[in-house]
């Protein structure tokens, strides 16, 4: 079976004041239909840039795909025309964002903003699109949808706005939904609600989900496979349970030990809460031929500082870019 989405050796370059830096370097991944894949990593590690690249929405004049392929159903999106990308966006691949408070247009009703995407991609009439918008509001569990449909965004809470964003994203029953930190700006009770909804609707529509987050708990709950990113490079990838139980990269290990409840539920013991010491290297150092995590790693040796570790594949589907992966 060919995967729904296959990314091969993707390199994304950002033009900054200090020159060109690879914000994503040599990233490969596969996403099968209907599965949930999670992207984990600190701020600035390139998670969101990958998402924008998949949508063809890299900031114009600043970011560009330098090399590599993004194959969606066998079609290379890096070579697709703008018109073709617009056909795919919101229809076959859609996205929800981190900032529900500002992601909806304040001067149009939410009904109009949902109906618009239906008119654009499914050629529904005004009336039919509006009725479908009410159905979608019901599907994302907004109470009293036929009244709320003519509300403006400022009349809704942050959580409700994110529900509306999900309704917009799922309106055309896309094959892939990219959720870029969908709950970061929301409070905990709403977070659980959003994740439940994403999981249920993902199953109902057969939509594959790429969940970008730094919430390891959400990853454990939601995803089948995960990719840990560090400084624009893939650090580790594999099935979620396996990676959490037996991380094969010191950075993943550090990330997991930062989450107390995760360890408590999995191993029933409560070690000291730790942090990953040190800071992420600056963007300008991203291209260096070394392990970028070496400066924060207690296992780092001369080899780590002088050449970039290759990706080591394990039999069980896990892979790790660490010189010491086998000893971990």
């Amino acid at each position: 079976m060919t995967p729904l989405l296959q990314v091969d050796n993707l390199r994304i370059e950002l033009t900054t004041r200090d020159g060109v830096a690879p914000v994503i370097d040599d990233l490969s991944l596969q996403l099968n239909a209907g599965e949930t894949l999670s992207f984990v990593g600190e701020s600035g590690c390139g998670k969101s840039m990958t998402a924008l690249a998949l949508m063809g929405l890299l900031p114009e004049g600043v970011g560009r795909v330098a090399s590599g392929k993004i194959l969606f159903d066998g079609e290379d999106l890096t070579q697709a025309s703008d018109a073709r990308l617009r056909e795919i966006r919101g229809n076959e691949i859609s996205m929800i964002f981190q900032e529900p408070m500002t992601s909806l247009n304040p001067v149009y009703t939410i009904g109009e903003q949902i109906a618009e995407v239906l008119r654009r991609h499914q050629n529904l009439s005004k009336k039919a699109a509006w009725n479908k918008a009410i159905e979608l509001l019901d599907a994302v569990r907004i109470p009293n949808p036929s009244a709320r449909v003519s509300d403006y965004p400022h009349q809704m809470s942050g959580g409700q706005r994110q529900l509306v964003m999900i309704a917009i994203a799922l309106a055309c029953e896309p094959k892939i939904l990219i959720a870029d930190e969908p709950t970061t700006a929301l409070d905990v009770t709403v977070q659980a609600q959003i994740f439940d909804l994403l999981r249920d609707l993902g199953r109902e529509f057969g939509t594959a989900i790429i969940l970008i987050t730094h919430d390891m708990g959400a990853v454990a709950d939601m995803a089948e496979r995960m990719i840990v990113m560090y400084a624009g490079r893939k650090a580790e990838a594999g099935p979620v349970e396996q990676v959490i139980e037996h991380p094969r990269h010191p950075y993943t290990k550090g990330l997991i030990s930062c989450v107390p409840h995760l360890i408590a539920t999995l191993t029933e013991e409560r070690p000291e809460l730790t942090e990953v010491a040190g800071i992420v290297p600056s963007l300008r150092d991203f291209g260096r031929d070394q392990c970028l995590f070496a400066s924060r790693c207690d296992r780092a040796d001369q080899q780590c500082k002088s050449s970039r570790p290759p990706e080591i594949e394990f039999d069980d589907g896990q892979s790790s870019a660490c010189w010491h992966a086998e000893q971990l």
């Binding site: 966006r89 500002t102 654009r120």
Partner: protein
């Protein structure tokens, strides 16, 4: 109902404001030395104190200030603005004769500046490094820097004198004969230069503001959402971005309405446009108090109505306006 109540409230405030303007105008002119009796006496080459007293009694000037003020407001409320001895006509008649010409000039100039300003602003926001963007910056600098009467005179020299495209002065050619269409065409020909002159400053203001607010809006999260929906560039610009970036432009246009009216005084003078501005200048020179008061009243009325309309338009553009309080 939700929409109507605040509107009625706004109209009530507008009327109260107008009464305040009336009281202020009247009081200030009352404080100024000299009155109609002095002017009449001067015009007729001197008068005895008895005659002066007689004139003051005739005009009700011997009454206490508050009584005079009350009488004036009472008269204004019945649309009686007094009698101009200089023009020998009721002020109301005088103003209604000139008002249409001014309104025509002011509204056309304002609309032109708004439409063209928004268009240029949007265009240059989409191509910030394009030639139009630099053109907008140039127009803006020129519009800010050049005094409006100087722009007017330059346009006159260029397009009436050197290239005889447009008439030098006035609103309509007395020799023109024909139906309403021919006359309208002639008025339009006379309007070109004054309207261009008057709109030049505001065009600069609006295009700059629209460019800035459009660029800000184009970088916002909901524009990214619109792109993620697969909408076309045109839908994103004109549906999602424009409506959001219009609010500051409309607000400024409303505030500038008073400036447009006062700018009309200068422009009308340069182009001998037979409107309120020309009338105002002449009656100030002639110390024709009732006419000045009347014109002040009407300018205030135009500005207040302009602001009221702005307020209502803003409510239509942005559903959040007036909801928070």
């Amino acid at each position: 109902m939700n929409y109507l109540l605040p509107v009625i409230q706004r109209i009530f405030y507008a009327v109260m404001l107008l009464v305040a303007v009336l009281i202020l105008n009247f009081s200030m002119l009352h404080l100024a030395p000299g009155d109609i009796a002095d002017t009449i006496a001067q015009a007729s080459g001197g008068a005895s104190p008895e005659m002066m007293a007689q004139i003051r009694q005739d005009y009700g000037l011997d009454q206490p200030f508050l009584v005079q003020l009350g009488q004036y407001i009472g008269k204004v409320l019945t649309f009686d603005l007094g009698y101009s001895f200089f023009y020998n006509q009721p002020v109301t008649t005088l103003i209604f004769e000139k008002l249409p010409a001014t309104l025509l000039l002011v509204i056309t100039a304002q609309l032109l500046a708004l439409l063209l300003g928004v268009f240029l602003g949007v265009f240059s926001a989409r191509n910030p490094k394009g030639i139009v963007s630099y053109l907008v910056t140039f127009i803006a600098l020129f519009g800010y820097a050049a005094p409006v009467f100087w722009t007017g005179i330059l346009l006159l020299i260029a397009f009436s004198l050197k290239i005889q495209l447009f008439p030098v002065a006035g609103m309509i050619d007395v020799t023109v004969e024909g139906g309403w269409f021919v006359r309208a065409l002639d008025i339009a020909r006379h309007m070109v230069l004054p309207v261009l002159t008057l709109s030049s400053i505001f065009l600069a203001l609006y295009s700059r503001l629209c460019r800035a607010s459009m660029m800000e809006v184009l970088g916002s999260d909901y524009i990214r959402t619109a792109k993620a929906k697969g909408l076309s560039e045109r839908q994103i610009t004109y549906k999602h971005a424009l409506k959001n970036s219009l609010s500051p432009v409309v607000t400024l246009a409303g505030l500038q309405f008073s400036a447009v009216v006062s700018g009309a005084v200068l422009v009308e003078t340069v182009f001998s446009w037979p409107g309120l501005g020309t009338l105002a200048l002449q009656s100030i020179i002639a110390r024709d108090t009732p006419t000045i008061l009347g014109i002040l009243f009407f300018s205030a009325l135009v500005v207040i109505v302009g602001n009221l309309i702005t307020d209502l338009v803003l409510r239509l553009i942005d559903p959040r306006v007036g909801k928070s309080s």
